[in-house]
């Protein structure tokens, strides 16, 4: 048993945490000494007290954003995986459709969000669609790559044993694609959140939404900068937690066999 401070997990958590504490301390003390006005740039203590003050409304907003994010994420995972399966069925399908997947990826969501919000009456649904469009591409491209990356030796072993198409998919392609798929999840989870927030920004001007983006906009209009920061921190925290959840999931699924999740034994 190694001492706590030598354990890798401890260092991985403690070191960034220490950096954060130092940054916050410098920020708090520096801004106090320089007497920067709160309406220009708040101190951490201002943000914290604002969070206590607006807690309920901020958390309600967080729930709204989180709901859109998770809906979009789940939709992106399901859709993206289905599209990837379709792509690997035949080269012709992939060649003819892949450019459109790229098109989807390079079109900025801010540019199409107003259109979607106009076309889809239900705000929640329109936001989810926007966020899904943002989160979709990494799932498609990673899963497609994974399903194609079959060990050639194993592939000929399957062929030689006259394995059915279905067995080859279930026993060879899908397990082999998992590391790529989980890589896609990590990117996509963050993008779903970004997509949700950006779409809320666009929709929020109409005042129909009450997500975190709306909180930020609203705080901006009333020059309540600490509340703006509080909302911002909530978004960041959500993103980090989503990412951590994906890392945990991928460790759970791959730790037994894949190099990316196995610790080198010394």
């Amino acid at each position: 048993m190694k001492p706590l401070f030598e354990s890798e997990t401890f260092v991985c958590i403690a070191a960034p945490l220490a950096v954060g504490v130092v940054l916050f301390a410098v920020w708090e003390i520096g801004f106090r000494l320089a007497a920067v006005p709160v309406y220009l740039f708040p101190k951490p203590s201002d943000v914290f007290s604002s969070f206590l003050q607006h807690g309920p409304s901020l958390l309600r907003a967080l729930l709204v954003t989180l709901r859109v994010t998770l809906q979009a994420f789940v939709a992106a995972v399901i859709l993206g995986t289905l599209i990837a399966f379709m792509f690997v069925q035949s080269r012709a399908i992939e060649v003819s459709l892949f450019p459109y997947a790229v098109l989807l990826q390079v079109t900025p969501v801010v540019a199409i969000a107003p259109l979607i919000i106009i076309l889809v009456k239900n705000t929640q649904l329109s936001l989810t669609i926007c966020a899904t469009l943002v989160a979709l591409f990494p799932i498609i491209s990673n899963t497609t790559l994974g399903l194609r990356s079959v060990d050639p030796g194993l592939a000929s072993f399957f062929r030689m044993n006259r394995a059915s198409r279905f067995k080859t998919l279930v026993k060879l392609r899908i397990p082999g694609a998992l590391p790529y798929f989980f890589g896609g999840l990590r990117i996509s989870s963050g993008l779903a959140l970004i997509g949700a927030v950006v779409a809320e920004f666009v929709a929020g001007t109409g005042g129909r939404s009450s997500g975190l983006a709306y909180e930020i906009l609203d705080a901006g209009f009333s020059l309540d900068i600490p509340r703006m920061f509080a909302a911002l921190f909530l978004i960041t925290l959500t993103g980090v937690l989503l990412f951590a959840a994906m890392v945990g999931l991928s460790q759970l699924a791959l730790s037994n066999w894949h190099e990316s999740e196995t610790r080198t034994e010394t």
Partner: protein, 283 residues
């Protein structure tokens, strides 16, 4: 020393590629392979592999030994000529008493599956129920001495152990014809010798017909009842050596003067085969 050997003359070559009176497991009938780029991988080859024979293919790079093995495995089709398996076409391979298994150069295990799941795979292809499959799997794993590791993942095993798993996976279907493409090429000599010992016993016990591709002279002499020396440009059978020593063999055979004599002779033949492969014969 050379007197110990049944040295064959060139004229006897044709006769020797047709084995003795045992029924053939595989017959290669004037099969040749021309690749898509026009290269002649294999000149027409005639070869009969008798049941229970341990046949080794050896020769310089590009001599077509792997191509010939793939033809026998039906992984590729001959450009001309044909092959027979148990005097029939490939469609009836896989039936009881006519099973074929292939062991690759690499272990080619599924990294996400435990040893037992890797070994069970061929039985799952055959849709065998777990209750029937499990004892067969345990038996195959025990045969290669890995019973203590059946819940391990491949990455937890050494290279030699992974190769053993690969062999267990080939044995689990109870094959009659075992095809091996340089299976121990990546292993150190000590591990290779131990696996060779096991293989020799195994093929003897199970009365396997084995076709083995290797680069190692010692391995070829130790394992084989017959060695086909091949030459390149185009790939062809150069000479055939019969190893006249009872099976199963053990370390005693490796230490015998007879073994050294065979190795020396085979080494000379290989050098000649390389010379023949260099320029001539290309059309």
């Amino acid at each position: 020393m050379a007197a110990l050997l049944p040295v064959e003359t060139f004229d006897e070559r044709a006769k020797q590629t047709i084995a003795d009176d045992r029924p053939p497991a595989v017959e290669v009938l004037s099969a040749e392979k021309v690749f898509a780029n026009g290269a002649r991988g294999l000149a027409p080859i005639d070869l009969a592999i008798a049941e229970g024979e341990f046949l080794t293919l050896i020769g310089p790079s590009g001599c077509g030994k792997s191509t010939l093995l793939k033809l026998i495995a039906n992984l590729i089709e001959p450009s001309d000529g044909r092959l027979l398996w148990w005097r029939g076409d490939f469609a009836q391979v896989g039936k009881e008493g006519r099973r074929l298994a292939f062991v690759f150069q690499e272990p080619t295990l599924m990294p996400w599956a435990r040893v037992e799941a890797n070994v069970r795979l061929p039985l799952e292809f055959a849709n065998m129920p777990r209750a029937i499959a499990d004892p067969k799997v345990a038996d195959a794993i025990a045969r290669v001495g890995l019973s203590a590791f059946n819940r391990h993942f491949p990455r937890q095993l050494s290279g030699g152990m992974k190769m053993r798993v690969s062999i267990a996976r080939a044995l689990v279907t109870n094959p009659n014809l075992l095809l091996m493409d340089e299976p121990f090429g990546a292993l150190d000599e000590f591990t290779r010798n131990r696996l060779d010992d096991d293989l020799v016993n195994l093929s003897w016990e199970r009365k396997l017909t084995t076709v083995f591709v290797t680069h190692s002279i010692y391995e070829a002499v130790f394992l084989s009842t017959r060695i086909i020396v091949m030459a390149a440009n185009p790939g062809r059978i150069f000479r055939v050596m019969t190893i006249d020593h009872p099976q199963p063999r053990d370390q005693g055979f490796r230490d015998s003067p007879q073994f050294s004599a065979y190795c020396r002779e085979l080494s000379t033949w290989l050098a000649e085969a390389s010379l023949q492969s260099a320029g001539g014969g290309q059309k």
